[in-house]
C-alpha cells in the first residue's frame, strides 16, 4: 500500500534572500497604500511576502521554523468571542505567551500527540492584506485567510481575519504578536490542534 503523504519535519531550506525588506525594491514598485514613504518603512509587498511565507511554513508543518518567526516576548491569540477585548479576563480558543507557544510547538513534534495521529493536512489562502498602522520599525498588518484542514476522514474550513504585529529586527521581520479572529469563534467546535 502506498504510504500516505505525511508532513515531515525537515530542515528549513535556506532562504534565497533575506526576509528583511528591501528599500530599493519597495521603491521601484508602485505604492499600494496611501501612506507617505517616511511612515511606511515596512512596505506592503514585504509584509505580504512575510505572511505567505508564514502560511507556507504552517502548511508544510515546519512548526519550529514558524516559531522562529516570533519575537522572544511574543504572544499568539485566537479569541473565543467576536470583538473580545483581551485574553486575560475572557477565555480564548488559544492564548499562548511565548513560553506556552514553545510548548505547543514542541508537542506538535511528538509522536504521542494522539490528536494528531493521523496528522492534519492544511491549505491556507491569504488575501486582502492591508497595513493598519505603521511606525518606523513596526507595523500592524491585517489579512483575511481561509484554512482547509483535512484529518482522518473529514475536512473542516476555518476563515477569518488575522492581525500581525510585525517588527523589524536584525534577523529580518518578526512577529511581536498575532491575533486570529475566526468567523465562527463561538461555535461548538471539535479540538483545534494546528495553529492558524
Amino acid at each position: 500500500m502506498a504510504k500516505k503523504q505525511r508532513p515531515t519535519r525537515q530542515k528549513r531550506p535556506k532562504p534565497k534572500r533575506s526576509a528583511a525588506p528591501s528599500r530599493r525594491r519597495a521603491a521601484r514598485q508602485p505604492r499600494r497604500t496611501a501612506r507617505p514613504a517616511a511612515h511606511d518603512p515596512l512596505g506592503l509587498a514585504d509584509c505580504e511576502r512575510f505572511l505567505l511565507q508564514e502560511a507556507r511554513l504552517l502548511d508544510e508543518a515546519k512548526f519550529d521554523d514558524w516559531l522562529a518567526l516570533f519575537t522572544p516576548d511574543a504572544w499568539y491569540w485566537v479569541p473565543s468571542q467576536p470583538d473580545q477585548p483581551d485574553p486575560h479576563e475572557t477565555v480564548s480558543l488559544i492564548y499562548d505567551d511565548r513560553r506556552l507557544l514553545e510548548t505547543r510547538v514542541r508537542r506538535l513534534a511528538s509522536p504521542r500527540m494522539y490528536s494528531q495521529e493521523p496528522r492534519s493536512r492544511t491549505s491556507r489562502t491569504i488575501a486582502n492584506v492591508t497595513i493598519e498602522e505603521a511606525q518606523p520599525t513596526a507595523c500592524t498588518v491585517r489579512s483575511k485567510f481561509v484554512m482547509i484542514e483535512f484529518r482522518r476522514d473529514s475536512q473542516r474550513i476555518f476563515g477569518g481575519t488575522a492581525f500581525h504585529r510585525l517588527v523589524r529586527t536584525e534577523n529580518g521581520l518578526r512577529i511581536a504578536w498575532k491575533r486570529v479572529d475566526l468567523v465562527n469563534c463561538d461555535a461548538p467546535m471539535d479540538g483545534i490542534t494546528i495553529p492558524f
Binding site: 522572544p72 516576548d73 504572544w75 485566537v78 473565543s80 468571542q81 473580545q84 485574553p87 486575560h88 479576563e89 475572557t90 477565555v91 480564548s92 480558543l93 488559544i94 492564548y95 499562548d96 505567551d97 511565548r98 513560553r99 506556552l100 507557544l101 514553545e102 510548548t103 505547543r104 514542541r106 508537542r107 511528538s110 504521542r112 500527540m113 494522539y114 490528536s115 463561538d186 461555535a187 461548538p188 467546535m189 471539535d190 479540538g191 483545534i192 490542534t193
Partner: protein
Amino acid sequence: MTEQLSRFVQPGRVHRQIYTDPAIFALELERIFGAAWIYIGHESQVKNPGDYFATRIGRKPVVMTRDAGGKIHVVHNQCAHRGSLVVATESGNAAEFTCCYHGWTYHLDGRLKRVPLQHGYPGDFNPGDPNTAMVALPRVASYRGFVFASEAADGPGLEDFLGPMTASLDDMVDRAPEGEIEVAGGVFRHAYDANWKLYLENLCDAAHPIFTHRSSIEAALAQPDDAYSDGSGEIAIRQMRQNGAPYSFWESQVGIWTYPNGHSYLGDYHDDAKLVAALKDPVFRDYIAALEARKGKKEAQRVLEVRRWNSNVYPNLSFMSQFQQLRVVHPVAVDRTVVHTYNFRLKGAPDQMFRNTISFANTVNGTGSLVLTDDLEIYNRIRMGLSSEGAEWIEIGRGFDSDVPDGRGGRRGRNSTSEVYIRNMLDAWVGYMTTGAKGRTKPMRAAS
C-alpha cells in the same frame, strides 16, 4: 425493553451497545434527561429582572428567566401556537417574549400574555391554560445559586438528589471572600463525535493522564522556564507537568468518592500547597488574607482544607471549585456531544485570581488546549473502536474488589485509580432506565 436494559450493565462490565444504539439514546433522553434534576445555569446568568439564558435539557431548548419579582423560571422554548422557537438569542433582557411568527406574546414565567386575533379562536380557547404557554418545567430549584430543573412532576427534592455533593457546591461558593460567585469570562463550546456518557466517565479517571496526555506532559517537562511568560503560560505548563504524576501518586495520595444517583468526586488531588497559585504565591497570599478578613481565620482554614477536584453530578454537570470551573454536557446524538464550560469569579478575591482561572480554563477546557484535544481524540476513538463490534463487554472492573463503603452512604475506591465512579454512574443509569425517577430512592447495584 426495560428488562433487557438492566442486562446491559453487569458487575464490573457494561455492554458496548449503550454507547452506540440510537434507540437507547432516545430512551436516555426520556428516562434520564426527562426525569433527573438537570443543571440549567447559575443565578448570576440572570442577575436582573427580565434577564434570560437559553440552554437545553437533553436536546430540548429551554429558557431560564428571572421575572419582575425576582423569581427564576425554566420554560420550554416553544411557542404554543405553531411551535416556533421563541427565544433565538442565548442571553439578554426582555420584558416579555414575543414569537416572531404571529406575535403570540408570553410573560417571563411562560404564561401567555397576548394573542393577536384572539376573537377568531373557538369559545373554549383559554389563553390562561398552563399548557397553552411556553410550558414551564414542573420543578425548578436552586442550591446556593446553582439552578436545576426536572421534567418529572415528582421525585426526590434537589438536596436529596445531590446528597453529599452539596458540599462540593458549597465549596464553589465558600471560596469567595464575599460569599458570592458569578459566571464570567466567556464560555467554551467543545464538541466530539461520540456518546455523552464518555465525558463524565473520563473526568475522574486518574489512570489516563500519564498515557493520554503524554505529549503535553513531555512538552511541558522539556520547556525551559526562562522563556518569557506573562503568567498564563506558567500556569498552563505547571498543570501539564502535574498531569505527569506517576501511578504511585494516584494510588497513594488521591481518592475517589461516589454517592447515590451517579454522583462522584476526585479528592485530595490538589491541596492548596500544591495549587498552581501555591501558598507562597503573593496573589494566593492576598486571597487568603481577604478570605480571613471576611470569614475569620478558622472558617478560612476550613474552606481551604476542602480538597475536592472534579465533582460530577450525574447526568450533565461537572465542576471544580479550586479553579472555579464548570462543565455542562449536552447530548446531541448517540454519537455527538457538545460540552459548554464556564468560569466563576470569586467576589472579594484579588483580580489576578480570576486571570489565573482564565489561564487554567484555557489549559484544561479550551478548544485549542494542549490537554483537552487529546481527551476529545479518545472519545472519538471510542466511537470508532466500538463500531468494530469485537469485544462485546467493556471492562469497568478496576478496583472492584477493593472499593469500600463511605460513611455518608456512598462507596469510595481504595485509591483514585478505581473505576468505582463509572460503575456508580451506570448503577444510576440502570435505575433511571428501568424504574424511572422513583426508583432512584432505592440505590441500584447493577455494576458495582
